[in-house]
């Protein structure tokens, strides 16, 4: 199988700090990969480079869209990368707090909308059909995550856990083939985390997604990831299936800690 | 308004805003004139009533004021506006509505060109600019002149053009023409340039407040040549120091002239307003009121066309001189040149220098 995403030796430097160095990574279609590592290892920074928020100081990123075309991502703006089919969530939630839940999702539909400004101004038939369609799709996604009944609430009024879910819904609404999740379970209790794991598995099937996720909750990472990449000080220190990675002494020392092994 | 015992006259002046001090003196003088006329029996048996609207020296507000006066108050004529830009904003409207409008002080040439209902009682920029140029060239024997003017003020721009044209036609050269914007405080850059051009005279056509600041910087740079100005300098003596010496400006009247009309006006104005000596704008407002009253009296009715016809034939001696109108409804009258001198009490004052006839 071909790689959907291929990061070739990417590095980024902030001031004097080399936050990520020579990161080599690729992910195959349909894979679910976990990216873990100590705080400050550079995981979020990798996401930022993949999604175009920062561009790498060196190295190259290539992405193959659903249409089978390969595109070089270096230098593209985030919105262009989103159009190609990569969507992400944010570690520190960035919802449109003052807008309704439904609007948060509808905004993410924007690039797939098939009417133009003129249709909107003149309120053509196409406008109404499309709008009805968008709303239906948005509500369907919300329903999957069990928050359709909150659609009229302001996003800021949702409890933290539901805000995290809404982040995922919003990312899904851009119709991605590759989904980047940055700590989706942060702030959730074990109960909720379990439910989230099932949800991730469900959407992965339903929307035929490739998923890369960052998470510190080992029950989630070890539970659903097929492959794990471990980052420390911006470098990959270990890579492989969960059972191998969790026993890697380097990983234990840098990340998991002794106790985590015992309790797992 | 038939049967009523008053004749309503609309007055549009800047009672507030940047030039309100001018507007207030002008308004007071107009009211003084109306009171005098009413005390003497009014006009055609009716009393004159001034309805004053504040134009804030802003053209669009002037338009609002004009509509209010003509449509809700139904005045028979308009005295105003004070600044040229405000007068320009309503001149076409007044002409279209056939309402007589007499501006006391708008010196921009285009104001009365709007049509035969528009008059003024002050002389126009071109005349004033020429008067100063003539004085600079003939009396001061200047060969090279410099001008420092406010490019965003039509008054200043107009005077600059007319001064330069006349000065050149009299054989002089304008060696430097520098400008600034309203509100500027630093003129050193322009003055350095002017100084380098070595002029014989420097013409500063602006209002006294800016002029007094410019004068300080002029003398501060060691430029000792005579400074020239126009009617905007009125009151410069209350606002400047020694640096104002050796300067001359043209004006509409001189409060110290021993003309009986002038003395009567100055005395009654002082009596009515806490001893304030009326400035030129007050004198013009006063004359404006008298010109209008005379025309209504001559017309015998308050019909606009009749007033206009009477105005054209105006020929009276007032505070600012003998007033008749030319074909463009501008007054034909003389200007005076005043010199800034130190008085006996050590304070600055003006001295009558000469009269320039049209």
């Amino acid at each position: 199988m071909e790689a959907v995403l291929d990061a070739d030796n990417i590095s980024i430097v902030f001031g004097g700090l080399r936050a990520v160095s020579d990161f080599n990574f690729s992910i195959r279609e349909g894979e679910l990969v976990g990216l873990i590592g100590p705080n400050g290892a550079g995981k979020t920074t990798v996401f930022n480079m993949l999604s175009g928020v920062y561009s790498p100081t060196s190295g190259e990123i290539n992405f193959m869209g659903r249409d089978g075309r390969e595109t070089r991502l270096n230098g593209l703006a985030p919105y262009q990368i989103t159009k190609l089919g990569i969507a992400r969530t944010f570690q520190n939630i960035r919802l449109y707090k003052q807008l309704s839940v439904l609007d948060n999702v509808r905004i993410a539909h924007h690039q797939n909308v098939k009417y133009n400004s003129l249709d909107a101004i003149l309120r053509t038939k196409r406008f109404y059909t499309e709008e009805t369609k968008i709303e239906a799709e948005a509500r369907e996604l919300l329903a999957i995550f069990g928050i359709d009944d909150k659609r009229a609430e302001l996003a800021s009024n949702l409890p933290y856990g539901q805000q995290r879910k809404l982040e995922i819904v919003r990312a899904l609404a851009t119709n991605p083939s590759l989904l980047l999740l940055d700590e989706p379970a942060a702030g959730m209790n074990p109960q909720e985390t379990n439910a989230l794991m099932d949800l991730i598995a469900f959407i992965r099937k339903k929307f035929n997604l490739t998923i890369l996720l960052i998470e510190h909750d080992m029950s989630l990472v070890m539970g659903i990831c097929e492959r794990i990449v471990v980052l420390d000080y911006g470098k990959i220190i270990s890579e492989g299936v969960p059972d191998v990675v969790r026993k890697d002494p380097l990983v234990i020392k840098a990340y998991l800690g002794q106790e985590a092994i015992e309790s797992a | 308004s038939k049967g009523s015992n008053t004749i309503k006259v609309g007055v549009i002046l800047p009672i507030s805003g940047q030039v309100s001090t001018y507007g207030i003196q002008c308004r007071d003088a107009i009211k003084l004139a109306f009171d005098e006329i009413n005390a003497a029996g009014g006009v055609n048996g009716k009393k004159l009533e001034a309805i004053v609207e504040d134009d804030q020296a802003s053209p669009d507000v002037t338009t609002n004021a004009f509509k209010k006066l003509t449509s809700s108050d139904k005045v028979v004529a308009i005295i105003g506006a004070l600044t040229s830009k405000c007068s320009l904003a309503i001149a076409d409207l007044a002409q279209a509505k056939k309402v007589v409008m007499i501006s006391p002080t708008s010196t921009n040439e285009k104001v009365t060109l709007a049509g035969d209902y528009i008059f003024r009682v002050c002389y126009i920029d071109s005349f004033q600019g020429q008067v100063v140029a003539k004085f600079a060239s003939e009396t001061l024997k200047g060969k090279k002149a410099a001008v420092l003017y406010d490019v965003s003020n039509d008054y200043s721009v107009g005077l600059t053009t007319n001064f330069s044209d006349k000065f050149t036609s009299l054989g002089g050269t304008v060696v430097a023409k520098e400008s600034y914007n309203t509100g500027d405080k630093d003129f050193n850059a322009q003055l350095t340039k002017i100084k380098a051009a070595k002029p014989d005279v420097l013409f500063i056509p602006d209002y006294y407040s800016t002029v007094s600041l410019i004068m300080k910087q002029v003398r501060g740079q060691g430029i000792k040549i005579p400074l020239l100005g126009a009617d905007g300098w009125d009151e410069i003596t209350n606002n400047a120091g020694e640096e104002a010496l050796n300067s001359f400006y043209s004006n509409h009247y001189s409060p110290d002239a021993n003309d009986p009309d002038v003395q009567k006006f100055v005395t009654s104005y002082k009596a009515a307003f806490n001893g304030t000596v009326p400035n030129a704008l007050a004198a013009l407002g006063y004359d404006d009121a008298y010109v209008l009253a005379a025309a209504i009296k001559a017309a015998g009715k308050t019909d606009s066309a009749a007033i206009r016809d009477a105005l054209v034939k105006t020929n009276i001696k007032l505070v600012t001189g003998q007033i008749t109108f030319d074909a463009n409804r501008n007054p034909v009258k003389s200007a005076v040149i005043l010199e800034v001198v130190k008085g006996a009490d050590g304070k600055l004052t003006t001295k009558y220098n000469s009269t320039v006839n049209p």
Binding site: - | Y180, K185, T192, A240
Partner: protein, 299 residues
């Protein structure tokens, strides 16, 4: 005068003007840096400062001693004014959107300048400002006045003091902490209200001294005198990188020189346009101004 003579003279003129801009810009930039508010009233506080100085100097007569008193009284009055304005006009809006505070600042600015206009003992008429005897020093054909020298020296000194306060003192660090997160600052034991009042007081003190120096250099006081220099100084602050103290100084001086040279050698009509043009070019190359910190938002 030779071309180079003129160039040198114009540069000196520009430096003098620019130092005044810099002085005003310092106050702007500091308040902005801490409270993130474009304090439109800054120029008007300058005006109040100038008026207070005027009344002091008129009642005492002009002397070095009187000038010092004038500075002191004017700084105190303006500091109180700054604190009062912050307390009643800005504090209630701390949690409101930024633009509301901006509107309030515009409103306060209008109230101050128009208030000064309608108050009988101030009034709309410009007044002559009492000044020290003008002494001019000349270097060849180039001339510089004592007031210009004072202005340049004072603004450099104030910049250094201010930079020290904000970057190296405890209250300065507290100011920066408050500027980032008021609630967290309170949890650290920082008295947020006090820190902000202090910031305004400091800004107003700067405005007061700028007011007296400004009206010594351009000896006239009137209610609207603060508008144009305020605006120009604000542009200088943005130009140098708003929030940056050396930036304000640098921006002010560059702006003054650019303006003067344009008037001197290109066109006095277009000097403002040229200055804004430069600003736009600089900002499109360096969006945070010449010395503004270019911090990328951590996502």
């Amino acid at each position: 005068m030779s071309f180079f003579g003129q160039l040198a003279q114009q540069t000196i003129n520009g430096l003098a003007l620019g130092s005044i801009y810099a002085l005003i810009a310092l106050g702007y930039t500091m308040v902005y840096g801490i409270v993130k508010l474009i304090n439109f009233a800054h120029g008007d506080i300058l005006m109040i400062g100038a008026f207070v100085g005027y009344f002091v100097l008129m009642s005492m007569g002009m002397s070095w001693y009187a000038l010092l008193i004038a500075f002191a009284v004017s700084m105190v009055v303006c500091a109180i004014m700054g604190i009062v304005i912050e307390r009643f006009a800005y504090r209630p809006l701390r949690d409101a959107p930024r633009i509301n505070a901006l509107i309030t600042a515009i409103a306060v600015s209008l109230i101050l300048e128009n208030g000064a206009r309608v108050i009988p003992f101030m009034g709309p008429n410009p007044r002559e400002y009492p000044v020290l005897k003008n002494a001019t020093f000349s270097l060849g054909s180039i001339e510089i006045s004592n007031i210009q020298i004072i202005v340049i020296v004072v603004s450099v000194a104030l910049m250094i003091v201010l930079n020290y306060i904000v970057n190296s003192t405890k209250i300065g660090k507290a100011m920066r902490a408050v500027s980032f997160d008021m609630k967290a600052s309170a949890l650290m034991g920082i008295n947020v209200n006090f820190v902000i009042s202090f910031t305004f007081a400091l800004g107003s003190v700067l405005a007061a001294s700028a007011g007296i120096l400004f009206s010594s250099a351009y000896p006239q006081v009137e209610p609207y005198m603060g508008i144009m220099p305020g605006l120009k100084a604000f542009i200088a602050a943005v130009f140098g990188g708003i929030g940056s103290i050396p930036g304000a100084m640098f921006g002010g001086v560059i702006l003054g020189i650019a303006e003067t040279l344009t008037k001197g050698f290109i066109s006095s009509q277009l000097s403002d346009a040229v200055v804004f043009g430069i600003l736009i070019i600089v900002l499109s190359v360096k969006p945070t101004g010449l010395m503004g910190k270019n911090v990328r938002e951590k996502v």
